[in-house]
């Protein structure tokens, strides 16, 4: 207990770092993921190929390697940004591949007849998309997106080893100060549990509110 009360600000900083990483990377991942899903279902072949390549490469890349490439490789390339921005980029791009697949499979669960009915009513493409297909797709993708974002929050721990302030990284100064290492890790674990449970709670609410089993 002492470890937490005496180092509350240190833990708080780390916790906040992890939350910030998670939120910014989630926003990037959701934006990029939806864009890539759009590419993957587009009737334009080069865009489809680009989306497929993006997803295949990122889904099969170890996140540590991606961090390595972004954090240590990009500066050699002449692109120097704060570590935090690099971490958000790496996490966001990695997760966007999973979001893309979730959204795409969501769009594919909308029955063909729905789109045909919308078009035969004279709806334009944006209307079909906005009023018929996406609202239905959105409902089926809530749970997979929730678990993807939880995975993102957990993956953000890797950023700590690349000089970004976040929760797992707090063990180092505490260890050097000579606190009991088991308790140190226990409180880190509690911090992560709070974040993952919050996300899972949020998505359970969203699902109860809007989700429909298909």
């Amino acid at each position: 207990m002492d470890v937490l009360t005496q180092n509350f600000s240190l833990y708080g900083e780390g916790f906040l770092g992890t939350v910030q990483l998670t939120v910014y990377a989630s926003l990037l991942a959701l934006g990029l993921g939806v864009l890539m899903a759009g590419f993957r279902v587009a009737p334009v072949a080069p865009l489809r190929a680009f989306g497929t390549a993006w997803v295949t490469v990122l889904r099969n890349t170890p996140l540590t390697l991606l961090f390595f490439a972004v954090m240590l490789g990009l500066p050699r390339f002449g692109l120097v940004l704060p570590f935090f921005t690099f971490a958000v980029l790496a996490l966001g791009c990695y997760t966007s591949a999973f979001i893309c697949e979730a959204v795409r499979s969501g769009i594919n669960t909308v029955p063909l007849g729905q789109g045909e009915a919308a078009r035969s009513l004279g709806m334009s493409f944006p209307q079909t998309l906005g009023a018929v297909v996406l609202p239905q797709a959105f409902r089926t993708v809530i749970p997979p997106i929730g678990s993807t974002l939880i995975a993102l929050a957990k993956n953000s721990a890797i950023a700590g080893s690349f000089s970004v302030t976040e929760l797992l990284g707090t063990y180092k100064p505490l260890n050097e100060l000579g606190y009991n290492i088991i308790w140190t890790f226990l409180w880190i674990a509690v911090g992560y549990l709070i974040i993952t449970l919050a996300i899972s709670g949020l998505f359970h609410v969203l699902e109860r509110r809007w989700g429909v089993p298909r």
Binding site: R59, P62, G115, K154, L168, Y171, Y192
Partner: protein, 287 residues
């Protein structure tokens, strides 16, 4: 191929012409992007001979191969152990004894909710274990817990009639499980199991962070060498195709198995899972 989606009709001649224009534009933009990346790579001297020469040295090649070997060793150990742990935990979660079920559920839910890296660091720092056992322990606990859920979902997805028929033949629970439910459940879940192993393979690279001498670590050693002009980008260019190739090979195997099992007569009473890692929110029990 787009005709299978609810988004578009089959395009007519004018739509096709329009799509061709878009395709041309998109190709142009993508080529420009590619050209810019290529130009920037040349401009910053990433293809300088100095940065690529180390890869001709025997010692460097051996270093990389040893790293790859260590990665595969960690993966092999973690895969076998997590399959075993997954089996044990799944048996616990399906047990008739309430305390056993509770303990198994607690273990599974805890290790699924914890970041893998926290567990690896805990074992490495707090328990002062060597890097390889620490990495394998972390991977086993995490992937074992996920696999336990996969196994359980597989057993539960077997049609109810199978279980009832087996019981009515006078089999006891162990026999029902061993001869009827588990064989069908595992067949159905094989694609998901292999996909989880892809996750395990990718996560072996976390060993890099605890100084386990695996593939990425070997790359870092080469990349950090001033004599070779800090060849970070050449190292990434060499390492990532190998990693991506290995993972794609396993993913492809999962897809192939999924296709094969779906056609097999032995999976009629159960729905074969798609070849993707399971996506279930922690705390969900509906699977």
């Amino acid at each position: 191929m787009t005709a299978a989606s609810a988004l578009y009709d089959i395009p007519g001649p004018r739509a096709r012409a329009r799509h061709r224009t878009y395709a041309l534009l998109a190709t142009l933009v993508l080529l420009l992007l590619l050209g810019w990346v290529g130009y920037a790579l040349v401009d910053t001297g990433q293809f300088a001979a100095e940065k690529w020469r180390p890869f001709e040295y025997k010692g460097i090649q051996l270093l990389l191969l040893r790293g790859l070997g260590n990665t595969l060793k960690a993966f092999g150990l973690a895969a076998v152990l997590s399959l075993a742990l997954g089996g044990v935990l799944a048996a616990g979660r399906l047990s008739d004894h309430r305390p056993v079920r509770w303990v198994a559920t607690l273990v599974v839910e805890f290790f699924r909710a914890m970041p893998l890296l926290v567990m690896i660091f805990f074992v490495f720092v707090a328990l002062k274990v060597q890097p390889l056992p620490a990495l394998v322990t972390g991977l086993t606990l995490y992937n074992g817990s996920v696999l336990a859920e996969v196994f359980r979902a597989g057993v539960n997805s077997v049609e109810r009639g199978q279980r009832e028929a087996a019981y009515s033949l006078g089999m006891n629970k162990t026999q029902v499980m061993a001869h009827v439910l588990v064989p069908q459940g595992v067949r159905a879940m094989l694609p998901a199991i292999i996909s989880q192993l892809v996750v395990a393979l990718k996560d072996t690279s976390l060993g890099f962070l605890i100084t386990y001498e695996e593939f990425l670590h070997a790359g870092k050693l080469i990349a950090g060498n001033l004599d070779y002009g800090l060849p970070f980008i050449p190292v990434v260019m060499i390492i990532s195709p190998v990693y991506i190739g290995m993972c794609m090979l396993l993913s492809w195997l999962a897809n192939w198995v999924a296709k094969r099992e779906r056609r097999s007569v032995k999976t009629r009473a159960v729905e074969v899972a798609p070849a993707a890692p399971t996506t279930v929110l922690p705390g969900d029990t509906q699977t």
